[in-house]
């Protein structure tokens, strides 16, 4: 009978708290970037998901994601309502912490993933459609993909693919879903007329600070133990974030002549996204390379968005989709058993192309599944409930039209 470690347990529970904080942090990050008339509507998306998915996770989500599986594709219903999930550890995943601690830590990931998508449909999503879509997406997209990549019998995990804290499950998954929704919903009415500017960047920067802080729980906590691997993940997380912030600012300075605060915080988030899958497998110097690439490439991806013409309002595709893909593939380059004995050697450590191919399979499968199922769900919800607000509602803003509230009563 494995013994519960006080150090490991406190670390996992505190990390779960840190990841929880990332969702309101995201709410502020997004909230500051929209127009004032939509600030509450935007924040509401993330905050409501905190409630919605927390409850779904306990009722059925955890069982679908991590329960004993069916054909390596999805968990079953054995743990519905958390029956069978108690204080004793579940050795297959974390032998020194209570099963409940592992469950709640994972639950916070299930919460933030659909919250990321909300950035793509900001300023024009109907609240009822958003609720129905989120419930379906969490259960039918997030849970299966989490099962594939993290459950012991998941088919992507059995291939050996490395995703320490969710490059595929969280970032590619939400990034691709964001693209689908941005296209299905269509552009905002005011797209292209110069009115779409952030109304409160200090709020965005506060949100980014909470995200950076919380990400230590996201990545280091994924070691599921208070040990050297957690320390390593912590260090590479900070290093990648820092480097990516500098890289984005550098790209801006070269391109437009000045670095911006929005660029600095966007860069740091891009770096955090990219290091997520790699965080338990790479060295600090590798993290610098990953951060540098993420800062520069995600900046280019965001510029490309204007050329391609889809209205991903808050750049979920450019930062999470592209950053997650970059991170998952770079894990195939830089992973080393010197950091984590369970790793497959990356290309730069003599692992050849085999490792890269496994990573690419994980990326491709996640992206394809998310694309197809999100599209079906979006179309179904659009037909049954409606996805987009009316023109008048979009004009008066989500705060008033969806919630009868005003964000700033000056």
């Amino acid at each position: 009978m494995p013994a519960i470690s006080p150090g490991d347990t406190s670390f996992v529970l505190i990390s779960a708290g840190l990841v929880m904080l990332m969702t309101p942090g995201l709410a502020l990050f997004y909230g500051g970037m929209v127009r004032a008339k939509n600030v509450l509507g935007t924040i509401m998306h993330s905050f409501f998901i905190l409630g919605l998915v927390s409850v779904l996770w306990v009722l059925v989500g955890y069982s679908l994601a991590f329960g004993p599986g069916w054909r390596h594709l999805v968990g079953g219903l054995q743990w519905v309502g958390l029956q069978g999930v108690g204080q004793a550890p579940l050795p297959a995943y974390a032998s020194t912490v209570p099963h409940l601690a592992f469950m709640i830590f994972q639950g916070m990931f299930a919460v933030i993933t659909p919250a990321l998508i909300t950035g793509a449909f900001a300023e024009r999503m109907k609240f009822s459609g958003f609720v129905v879509f989120t419930i379906l997406w969490a259960l039918l997209v997030y849970c299966p993909v989490a099962h594939w990549v993290w459950a012991t019998d998941g088919w992507i995990r059995r291939l050996g693919a490395m995703d320490f804290a969710g490059g595929t499950v969280v970032h590619i998954n939400s990034g691709v879903a964001a693209l689908v929704l941005a296209v299905v919903l269509g552009r905002r009415k005011d797209y292209g007329n110069g009115d779409l500017v952030p109304h409160n960047l200090p709020l965005t920067i506060l949100g980014a600070a909470l995200l950076w802080f919380g990400w230590f729980g996201f990545n280091a906590g994924s070691a599921l133990a208070a040990n050297g691997l957690a320390a390593s993940a912590f260090v590479v997380t900070n290093t990648a974030a820092a480097m990516a912030a500098l890289a984005w600012c550098g790209a801006e300075a070269l391109h437009r002549g000045k670095p911006t605060t929005l660029g600095a915080v966007s860069g740091c988030v891009a770096g955090l996204v990219a290091i997520t899958p790699a965080s338990g497998f790479v060295t600090p110097l590798a993290a610098m390379a990953i951060g540098l690439a993420a800062g520069a490439l995600c900046y280019l991806a965001v510029l490309l968005k204007w050329r391609l013409g889809y209205d991903d309002a808050l750049d979920v595709v450019g930062i999470h989709g592209v950053g997650g893909t970059l991170g998952a593939l770079f894990t195939g380059l830089f992973a080393t058993t010197a950091v984590n004995s369970t790793a497959l050697q990356g290309l730069f450590y003599g692992g050849g192309l085999a490792t890269l191919r496994v990573q690419a399979t994980a990326v491709g499968a996640t992206a394809l599944y998310s694309l197809l199922v999100t599209l079906v769900l979006a179309k179904v919800v659009q037909a049954l409930v409606g996805l987009r607000v009316t023109e008048e509602e979009e004009e008066s803003g989500l705060d008033l039209s969806q919630h009868s509230e005003v964000g700033y009563a000056f």
């Binding site: 110069g194 779409l196 500017v197 952030p198 801006e252 391109h255 437009r256 000045k258 911006t260 929005l262 660029g263 966007s266 900046y299 965001v302 510029l303 204007w306 750049d315």
Partner: protein, 112 residues
């Protein structure tokens, strides 16, 4: 009675107010407005995409005074608001049909 409306640069707000008080003007109304004339706006950049803003913040002074005082008020505002650079603003003089002091009911010049 005439109303003198002046659109001036925000950084001249206190100079203009001091100058007006100095010539005996008892009250005025100030509002924050946006506008443009020959002064061009500025460019903002968010995640690489540039947004140009033509409207610049300005301050509008509104002073109602008796006809005899108008030339002095106009000259005082013009001198205190002037920086010599484009965007200093404009002054307009409009006729006023009636004025009433709410507390006492006085009308005409007595209300000013």
């Amino acid at each position: 009675m005439k109303k003198v409306e002046a659109i001036v640069k925000p950084l001249r707000l206190h100079e203009v107010r001091k100058a007006l008080t100095g010539i005996g003007v008892q009250g005025c109304t100030v509002s924050e407005v946006r506008g443009f004339g020959r002064q061009k706006g500025h460019t903002e950049i968010y995640r690489g995409s540039a947004v140009s803003s033509e409207f610049l913040p300005k301050i509008k002074f509104e002073v109602v005074c008796c006809d005899e005082l108008v030339p002095q008020v106009v000259e005082t505002i013009a001198k205190s608001a002037r920086t010599g650079r484009i965007g200093d603003g404009k002054i307009f003089v409009l006729p006023v049909v009636e004025a009433v002091r709410i507390r006492t009911g006085e009308q005409g010049d007595a209300a000013l």
